[in-house]
Every structure is written in C-alpha cells, then in structure tokens.
Amino acid sequence: MVEGLVITKEKSLFEEFNINFSSERNNFEYADSVDSAREIIGLEIPDFLVIIEKGAKKTHDLLTDLFENNEINKIPVLCYISSDEWSQRDILWKINVNDIIQLPISKEELHFQLERFISDISEITFDQTEAGMHGKLEDYNLLDLIQTLEANKKTGILALYRYREEGKIWFHKGNIQDAKYKTFKPLIAILKLVSWMDGDFSITFVDEEYAKIIEEDNKQILLDAIQYIDQRHKILDSLPDRNETLLISPEADMDRMDDKAFTYLRFFHGGNTISAYLESFDQDDLTLLGEIRKFVDEKLLMTRQEFDSHKTEQELQAEGAGIKKAFKRFFTRKDNVDGDAEKKKSAQKAKDLDEDEILNETGLKKFDILFEKESLDLKKFKDKIEKL
C-alpha cells in the first residue's frame, strides 16, 4: 500500500484525485494547508506528497515552509503547476522536488504519470534500504515474526500495516529495542499490535544500533503477549460483538460515577462500538475491556435491541401515571391507525374510550394527562438553559 498526502486548498480537486486514483495499492490523505499537512505527517509519514497549487512560487513557498523539518525533506514530492507558470518551474527543481506536471492534463495521462511516479518512488525506497522482506499478517503474525527475527539475530525495523494504520518495532541482533504505535507506550504498542490478525508487514534490515527502550527481554515480551491475547479473547468472547453499537442504559446514573468510569462510559453516549472504543484510549486492551465488562455486567451498556426493549425501574414505577399511562393507552390501539379512514375510526373509538379527553376552543385534541405548558415558568427554564 502506497500512502500519498495531497496538499491543495481546493478540496474538490483532492476529491476528484481520490476518486480517480485511489485503489487497493494507492491511498490518499488530504491537507488544505501547511499546518494540517504537518499534523498528518506528524501522525504518519506518507510515502509521497502531491502539491496541487497552480503557481510555481506558491508551491515553492509551501514546500520551503514544510521542508524546515528534515524528516519531511526525505519524502518524494510531486507538484502540479499551471501552464502559465511552467517557465518558472526551475525554482522547484532547485529544491529537489521529484517531478513536476503541467496542468491542465487529461485524466488518462495523469493516471499514467502518477503510476510512473509511484513505481519510481518504490524503486527509490528499495534502493535506500539494504534488504528486507514483506508479507501478510494472515500468514505470519507478530509472534511468529518476533521469533524469526530473534532466531536469526536480525537488526532492523519491522513495520506492520493494517487499514490505514502503521506500527513499528525496532530490533537489534534479534532483541526488541523499541516499538511505536500511535501514542502508546512501547510495550503497550506491542500488545496492541499482537492482536492484529490481518494486514501487511515489512521488514527492513538496517545495520544500525537502536537504543533499548523496552526493559523486558524478548522471552518476557512473548510471554506477556501470549497471556494478553488469551485474556483478550476470553473477555471479547463474553461481550457483545465488537462491531455492534452499544448504548448507555437509561438507568445509568452518570452523576454518581467516578471520573474514570464516567470517561469510558461517556464514549458510548448516543451509541458506539467496542472496536472504536479500543482504538480511542491510551490504555492496553485488557484494562479497557475490563471496564467494558463491568459496564455490561452491571447492565450499564446494552445493545440497541436490549435498549429498545428495556423498561427502566423508574418507568415501571411510573406506569400508572402521567405520560407513561398516555403512551401505554395509545400503544394498545396502534394497529388501528393505518390510513385515514382507519385513523378516524380509531380516533372515534378513542374518544368513546377516553373520558378525560377534552376539546379546547380551537377544536384541537387535548389530553389532560400530559404536562401543561401554561403552568410552566419559562423564564426559569431560560435562565437555567443559558447556564448550560
């Protein structure tokens, strides 16, 4: 998978670019400014940059602004400039961009140019590394890979890719030195990566000594990882499907919860999945799943189906009164409200049944069991809402 970052002020240009050229092999991110580009690069370094900024000088300024950071300087750059500015392109060659393409350009030609560029940069990347290998995590999972690198006393970087995410583990003579995945601590990063059962990996052998950041030795890490996977499976099996939307129970009293539990449970406000939850917090999955387990056991979290059929304690108590009574009474004749004639009939029937129904002067139906707005002091409400 080749990741490109497209920088352009016009989002429509990016969208067109993305629709036409993204594929199983290419994927594009979007940045509308230098700042947002920096932010994206900070999270994950793309394989190449595409700048669509018509003017040569503007493109130059944008790149020099970005190039302050040396790491960015290593990324191959492809620029698009308009034909009016074509004569000015020298300033771009001087700052070592990899290719410049003149606009306007036909879709087919652009496609061809882009393919060529991507294959060129793949060669550059290949040349820079000494040697390596790559494959699918379905065939070799992280545990296999760690053991292989250890057995062969290899030094290099193991990179894992899944959807649009990337994790890296650094080895020295077969020993795990450091790991990086999102903002997780190295050991937690490895535990998170261990659970990836699909995706790609690549190993780059580089003769460079990396600092030992992770204290544990390989044996301990592998042991932790195996226990971790085992535990994780056990908990996940006892929970609703990780991609099913869960909702907070109507009975959950958020006000009485401690801050930690509140933060975790709050994530499901309005509905969310366990998968999304696991990706959103900086703790290891076991801690996070432990919290979820508690919520599910205490019935604070439930599936949409459970939620819809759930009757709260309060509702059971209130069944005989107020609005609940009104709902119940009307739900009992919900089968009769198909079509206008049926509706009239049911309204008539309801009228006969409901002694407490009254008609106001406008002839609109009114039910005395509902809360009357006339008796409410709206000013009080307004004051409180303003303070929300």
Binding site: A252, V337, T362, L364, K384, I385
Partner: protein, 152 residues
C-alpha cells in the same frame, strides 16, 4: 417537578438525537419503541425531548398526543439529503394544519448543490415559520435553538 416537552422530528434517528446528546449527559431512554431524552436543569426543572420519526406512520398518533402540549416542535431539515426535503415540506404542512404548536425548522447546512435558496424561500413563505441553522458539532448551536424554542 416542572417538565417542559419538546418533540424533535426528523428522518434519521441520529440527527434528531444529536440536539439532545449535545446538551445532556444523561443516556437516551426508550419506552415501548419511543425514544426520548431527559435534560435535568435542576431538581425542579426538566426538559423532555421526544424523538419522532417521520418514516414510521404507525406512531403518528403519538404526534397527536405530544405536539399539542409541547412548547414548540423542532424539525431537523437536512439539505444534504435531497430525498428528505419533500417529506419535510409535507411534515411542516401537516404540523401547521393540525396543531397550533410553533414549528421551529432547524436546517443542517450542506455543501451540496441543492437549490437551497429556493427551498428557503418556500420555508419562509409563511411568516410564522421559524428558521435556524443547526450545527450538529456545536453544543452552543443546540443551546441557542432550545432558547429560541422556549422564547414565546
């Protein structure tokens, strides 16, 4: 306990519930298929939001119960969903013909090429219609709409 009731009508549950989830930490509640939410302002004041779905005609009789007693009725109008526009116009007509409760039309802006000005004109045709823009990402936007609804 003083309870203020506000029905929120829309095509998609997620859109109608958004105005509530922005304002209240309390989870959504459900009573036999009707979703509603509770915003506790203090021990004595609460706002009930009822989420009414236009698609399910079996529940239309609930409208007859809830709407006449509500301080105002919020209709979520999404420009980004062309199919919902005609439905929304019909709903507005239904509400205006059947109830005296003020209708507050909250439009979610979109970047699409819909003839927004045309529909806006249509919506403003009757002087009493109240039209706002609702930004589903901002709590302040939901709060302002709520304040407008009770400002009668």
């Amino acid at each position: 306990m003083n309870i203020l009731e506000i029905p929120v009508i829309g095509k998609h549950q997620s859109e109608t519930e958004k105005i509530y989830t922005l304002l209240s930490e309390q989870p959504l509640r459900n009573f036999e298929g009707l979703d509603f939410g509770l915003l506790n302002l203090d021990e004595d004041l609460s706002v009930y939001f009822y989420f009414l779905n236009q698609e399910n005609e079996n529940y239309l009789y609930l409208w007859d119960i809830i709407i006449p007693h509500a301080v105002g009725c919020i209709l979520i109008f999404d420009w980004g969903d062309p199919q919902s526009i005609e439905r929304n116009l019909k709903t507005i007509e239904y509400l205006e013909n059947n109830f005296s409760t003020p209708v507050h039309i909250c439009t979610i802006p979109s970047e699409s090429d819909l003839p927004e000005s045309f529909i806006k004109e249509e919506l403003e045709r009757i002087g009493e219609r109240r039209l706002y823009t609702f930004d589903p990402t901002k709590k302040e936007s939901a709060k302002n709409i709520l304040l407008q609804v009770i400002d009668i």
